[in-house]
């Protein structure tokens, strides 16, 4: 089976996504590399996630479709900027990779991991879960349709179980 990141990229490209903004996450590594290598996509590295929300709105004003990619902890940084999306009804496609959800060994990841999906919903972003690689292309394609044809704010939230939990070496 294709890795989820490859399937997700296929769906993004087919949906006409031309800008991919991101703050890196280990779970996004392959997808970021795929976007950076693609001629059809301009990859934009952000210093903080809320920049990506504003960037996607600007891209839409200019006739381009964007995806904003981040780790679940970054959702908290986006909250006020999501008011721009809500008040102007900008299409928004987010791809959020989870921490603090499955076999998480870093307790500092647990608070945002527990509330990321609820925060998104509260801020007006519909959460579309992605749990298996087999459903990745279909799920991202469905979310892109909702965003760009349905003028909705949508986040594909990728399970930590699919990504594989980060391991921390024990001191010996």
């Amino acid at each position: 089976m294709r890795p989820w990141a490859e399937a997700a990229f296929t769906a993004l490209e087919a949906a006409g996504v031309r800008q991919a903004a991101y703050v890196p996450d280990a779970g996004l590594d392959a997808l970021i590399a795929r976007c950076r290598a693609a001629e059809t996509v301009t990859a934009v590295a952000l210093t903080s996630e809320e920049e990506g929300i504003a960037l996607a709105a600007g891209a839409w004003l200019g006739g381009a479709r964007a995806v904003v990619m981040m780790q679940s902890s970054g959702v908290g940084n986006c909250v006020n900027m999501l008011s721009l999306v809500r008040v102007c009804r900008f299409p928004l496609l987010m791809l959020v990779t989870m921490r603090g959800q499955w076999a998480e060994a870093n307790p500092w990841q647990l608070p945002m991991g527990r509330i990321a999906a609820d925060v998104l919903e509260l801020a007006g972003v519909a959460v579309v879960p992605l749990r298996t690689a087999a459903e990745a292309e279909e799920t991202v394609a469905a979310a892109a349709t909702m965003a760009f044809e349905g003028s909705a704010a949508v986040a594909v939230v990728v399970d930590q179980r699919l990504l594989g939990a980060k391991r921390f070496a024990r001191a010996s």
Binding site: A54, L61, G62, L84, F90
Partner: protein
């Protein structure tokens, strides 16, 4: 020390010469200044989303590389989004200009001092981030050259205008964001959806 330039005159002159440029005007006084210069379909004023003007202009600049894009903002908003200067510099859009109206104050909340009143130099931050050019403009005599840079020099560029503190007469842009979005896209792209 705060500046002496008249914010409305700076913005009116810049926008009078804008040509085909697309403008994102940041929340508060910069958006009011743009409105005072004349409501324009290709000026998108923000009433909130503080810190959003520069990254929004970046997305627009990357989408329309053939058009000049101007982020018109104030010192307060620019300070909230300093990281965006690193993001812009790394993306290196040749068509993007950031204009900061710096009165060293949070004008919409009572005129409290901002960090630029305490020595932070935004143009120096932009230069250190890697902007192609960034200058602080305090004298009327330097306006023409600064505006020419904003409108034409290879970007990303920044011009920080040291403006006088104090309030300008009220001038408010339309506040329905969805309508502003549709109007902008209709004028630029000839369509609203898709």
């Amino acid at each position: 020390m705060s500046g002496a330039l008249d914010r409305r005159r700076v913005v009116a002159r810049l926008l009078a010469e804008r040509g085909e440029a697309l403008v994102i005007a940041g929340l508060g006084s910069p958006a009011w200044d743009a409105a005072a210069a004349g409501d324009h379909a290709l000026t998108f004023p923000l009433w909130g989303a503080m810190g959003g003007a520069v990254p929004m202009a970046l997305g627009l600049a990357l989408a329309r590389p053939e058009r000049r894009v101007i982020a018109l903002t104030g010192d307060g908003e620019m300070l909230m989004g300093l990281g965006a200067l690193a993001t812009v510099a790394a993306a290196a859009p040749a068509n993007l200009a950031v204009v900061v109206l710096d009165n060293e104050r949070y004008g919409e909340t009572g005129g409290q001092q901002s960090h630029t009143a305490r020595g932070v130099e935004l143009a120096a931050v932009a230069r250190a981030a890697g902007f192609a050019a960034a200058a602080t403009v305090a004298a009327e005599a330097d306006l023409a050259a600064a505006i020419a840079t904003v409108l034409g020099a290879p970007g990303p560029v920044m011009a920080v205008f040291k403006i006088a503190p104090g309030t300008a007469p009220p001038a408010l842009p339309p506040r329905d964001g969805t309508w502003l979005k549709h109007r902008f896209r209709q004028a630029l792209l000839g369509r609203i959806e898709g």
